[in-house]
């Protein structure tokens, strides 16, 4: 926490904008500002599909997101996000590689994503900033018609999505604007 805190006198309180309580044993815990600064692209998108694949002798998962909103950077149409870990059932001995704390998206998941362009192996693809920290689930859509129900769709869900997005706008808009101004 001490590493990342931004302490600004504001009236009678001293505020440390939501900062890390330390470093995760797996990942460096990032402040909102650090996440924004580390992002090449910030979008709201819906996960359309996912596929595990071998990259050399490592299992990775490639997610395809439909871009609904671009908050920072440039993107249109579809964006690919690659995450370490995955599964392969089409081999003699089906296996999965699990990375503790790595993001796993669900098809139809709508999320705000802070993305970092991946070097080398994945031209045009992105990783999530801070492992899983740059992922903010907004909603999970229905998977099948049978599953579509009051709990996962309809006005209540739309309100919830709207609320979540409003809060995310409030949290990140200034930081994104400040980054753009730099």
């Amino acid at each position: 926490m001490t590493r990342n805190s931004v302490k600004t006198p504001l009236g009678l309180l001293t505020v440390a904008l939501l900062m890390a309580a330390g470093a995760s044993a797996s990942t460096l815990q990032l402040t909102d500002r650090q996440m924004v600064d580390a992002s090449d692209l910030v979008i709201v998108g819906e996960c359309l599909e996912m596929k595990s694949e071998w990259v050399g002798r490592n299992l990775m998962t490639r997610y395809t997101f439909k871009v609904d909103e671009v908050w920072a950077g440039q993107a249109a149409g579809l964006v690919e996000v690659v995450v370490p870990g995955g599964a392969d059932a089409n081999r003699k001995f089906p296996v999965a590689t699990v990375w503790p704390g790595a993001p796993i998206f669900s098809p139809n998941e709508r999320a705000l994503l802070m993305l970092d362009q991946l070097p080398l192996l994945y031209e045009g693809a992105y990783s999530v900033v801070g492992f899983n920290q740059g992922r903010f689930t907004v909603a999970i859509g229905p998977l099948t018609a049978a599953k579509s129900s009051a709990s996962t769709s309809g006005p209540a869900l739309q309100r919830r999505e709207s609320d979540v997005l409003s809060k995310l706008h409030a949290r990140f808009d200034d930081l994104i604007a400040a980054k753009g101004a730099r």
Partner: protein, 644 residues
């Protein structure tokens, strides 16, 4: 696909005996597609989740240290780290787990390898300081495991490198052919069996230090043993836990709590050793005394203690007030004598859909998203416990940080309830917010400890916590709760005023967020930007008040129905409102930074349409004058429930 079908048919008889769920707890999970039960779409199957762990034939687990980087560079410009010293530290971290007398896990560094490349699935368990470009972590411990029950026969190539990974001449995992990778003995291995674990440490971003003298507050340097102890927990399947504060007097948490405060030397020292939560899970999954065979690692040797001599289990379900299973919460057992949190467990055992062609998991309808509604908490026996449940709501830990079952609960938005305790025979959706807590004697396995979440709600004039703030020393923070908002919970039989919560944190992970007092008081909003609050005779007072780090710290009210009945009428008659008040005092247990504990605030961003509710106040003159806060809403919460 063809292979998979063959495999499933071969093993179907074994499945019936081996896949009985044991209840969810604190292990990393993977999919089990063995049963080949069709999923909701063509080409998909149901994939109940199973724990990942080493087969007993692979224990002791052999590891190789990659010596490609020797010495290990120092990115801060200081002296590099000698690999031999690092290797000693890594074995020391392994031994922290190996030395648990009730667990037969054993992980040993047996040799070195020279590998310029990052880790891969190669049947070599590697400890390496080589990481790929853009590596996002301090360290990681990925494991590749089976996702279907499998029978290995002599000559099978498990990792697909063209080299045999199975030998009929072996009874334990070993490098039988001397080519550097590990061969497995012939035989049956269930889904979840770990085949390969590697631990990577990022020397390109961090400096790993050794010994107390090297500990500092530089966030880019951290103790290697501390990091390794945590990662090696993952190496044998132990998941993250939500325990970050053992008690009101003890700020340390479990070694498997997801974060380490790199600026807090005490937190790093704490992380070198295990909490009972860590010990319990390693022991539950690798229990000493499980075998009478002296060749089995679970045979009790001198120095070992049988798991059953020390531990037993608490088992039950958690459901919401409407009877739906709570997937991915965190049940916990708290020592009723010491009030220390002992062990926590993920609630229910999840199930996902799995696309056989893309290797992708997906969420199933909620009703199909679990295969077992039970949690299972291993606890030291012969003690009395309070049993409770808290949400894995990212305060302080989210379900997506724990395991796949946690991810299901998180994605479905189930983790939105307040921490509460099991009330024994009186447990119901309307027992009380947190009690009465029931002391459970645990000398033997206890089952049926079924928690029903309260039918209640929180009143707060604020959004979510998005920053933390220090209150001035001796200052008061207050939030007005209008009587009308409480009355809205009255369905005709009255209201319970069950408790209040305050979002708190401590600047140093090893210290507890201690405040001078918390009050439920009454007062009036004067309508001129000030409030008058009676702190001399509060309805309820807790002094000192110990919060929870990065979480909502609760204050529980006894006689909640009486409080609702008597206080509500009295306050209403006087034309007053309730106020939730927090008093900041000197921190009795300061950490290395000496900063006071902090309070969560909702920063008002007018450009985003956020409004100042005008219900959050501050006093810096001893509580005489309360002024409206202009930039913040305070997310203090009053917990109320209808009497049903």
């Amino acid at each position: 696909m063809k292979n998979l079908l063959r495999l499933s048919l071969c093993t179907i008889a074994v499945l019936a005996a081996l896949t009985l769920p044991l209840g969810a707890s604190g292990n990393l999970e993977t999919y089990n597609i063995s049963a080949f039960q069709p999923g909701p779409f063509p080409g998909t199957v149901l994939a109940p989740l199973v724990d990942i762990k080493w087969d007993s034939r692979c224990i002791s687990v052999p590891y190789a240290v990659n010596d490609f980087l020797d010495p290990i560079p120092n990115v801060l410009g200081g002296p590099p780290l000698d690999l031999a010293e690092a290797e000693d530290a890594l074995q020391e971290a392994f031994d922290v787990w190996n030395d648990i007398p009730t667990s037969f896990i054993d992980m040993q560094i047996v040799r070195n390898i020279t590998n310029p490349n990052p880790r891969s699935f190669d049947m070599v368990n590697e400890l390496t300081f080589v990481t790929p470009p853009g590596f996002p972590a301090i360290a990681s411990s990925p494991s590749t495991s089976l996702i279907a029950d499998s029978f290995f026969v002599d000559g099978d190539d498990i990792d697909g490198d063209g080299d045999s990974d199975v030998s009929s001449s072996l009874t334990t995992c070993a490098d039988a052919d001397g080519d550097g990778d590990i061969e497995f003995p012939e035989g049956f291995y269930p889904a979840g069996t770990i085949l390969d674990n590697d631990v990577q440490f990022s020397a390109t971003t961090f400096v790993f230090t050794l010994g107390d003298a090297a500990l500092d507050t530089n966030p880019s340097s951290l103790d290697l043993v501390t990091v390794a102890v945590h990662e090696f927990g993952h190496s044998h399947g132990v998941a993250h836990t939500a325990i970050n504060q053992i008690s009101d007097m003890e700020g340390r948490g479990s070694a498997m709590f997801p974060t380490i405060d790199t600026s807090d030397p005490v937190d790093q020292i704490n992380g070198r050793s295990l909490h009972i939560d860590d010990i319990a899970y390693s022991s539950l999954y690798y229990p000493e005394g499980i075998s009478d065979d002296p060749e089995h690692p679970g045979w009790v040797e001198p120095g070992d203690i049988a798991f059953e001599d020390v531990f037993t289990t608490i088992k039950g379900s958690v459901t919401d007030p409407f009877g739906s299973v709570m997937i991915g919460g965190s049940a916990f057992a708290e020592n009723a004598t010491t009030r220390e949190v002992a062990v926590s467990a993920v609630t229910a055992r999840g199930q996902l859909g799995f696309d056989l062609f893309t290797g992708s998991p997906f969420l199933l309808p909620l009703a199909d998203s679990f295969v077992d509604d039970q949690y299972l908490i291993p606890v030291p026996k012969g003690k009395r416990y309070f049993v409770g449940v808290e949400a894995l709501d990212s305060e302080p830990v989210g379900g997506n940080q724990v395991n796949f079952t946690g991810i299901i609960g998180s994605l479905y938005g189930l983790q939105i309830f307040d921490e509460e305790y099991w009330a024994g025979p009186r447990e119901s959706f309307s027992d009380s917010f947190t009690g009465p807590r029931y002391k459970l004697n645990v000398n033997r396995p206890r089952t049926g400890i079924d928690i029903v979440l309260e039918f209640n709600g929180a009143i707060t004039p604020s959004g979510a916590v998005d920053a933390f703030a220090f209150a001035p020393l001796g200052g008061y923070l207050a939030v007005r709760i209008p009587i009308s908002e409480i009355e809205a919970f009255d369905f005709g039989s009255g209201v319970r005023i069950q408790g209040m919560t305050f979002p708190t944190t401590s600047f140093d992970a090893s210290s507890v967020p201690a405040f001078e007092a918390a009050y439920l008081a009454v007062g009036v909003d004067n309508g001129d930007g000030t409030a008058s609050i009676d702190l001399k005779v509060p309805f309820r007072e807790e002094a000192p008040f110990i919060g929870q780090p990065s979480d909502q710290g609760p204050v529980h009210f006894a006689s909640s129905a009486n409080l609702g009945r008597q206080a509500l009428g009295k306050v209403k008659r006087r034309g007053q409102d309730f106020f939730l008040v927090l008093k900041a005092g000197p921190n009795p247990l300061p950490g290395v930074s000496a900063f006071p504990p902090a309070v969560g605030v909702d920063v008002i961003d007018a450009t985003a349409g956020e409004i100042n509710f005008g219900r959050s106040f501050i006093s810096t003159d001893g509580g005489v004058t309360f002024n409206t806060l202009s930039s913040f809403n305070l997310p203090f919460r009053l917990i109320v429930a209808p009497i049903l």
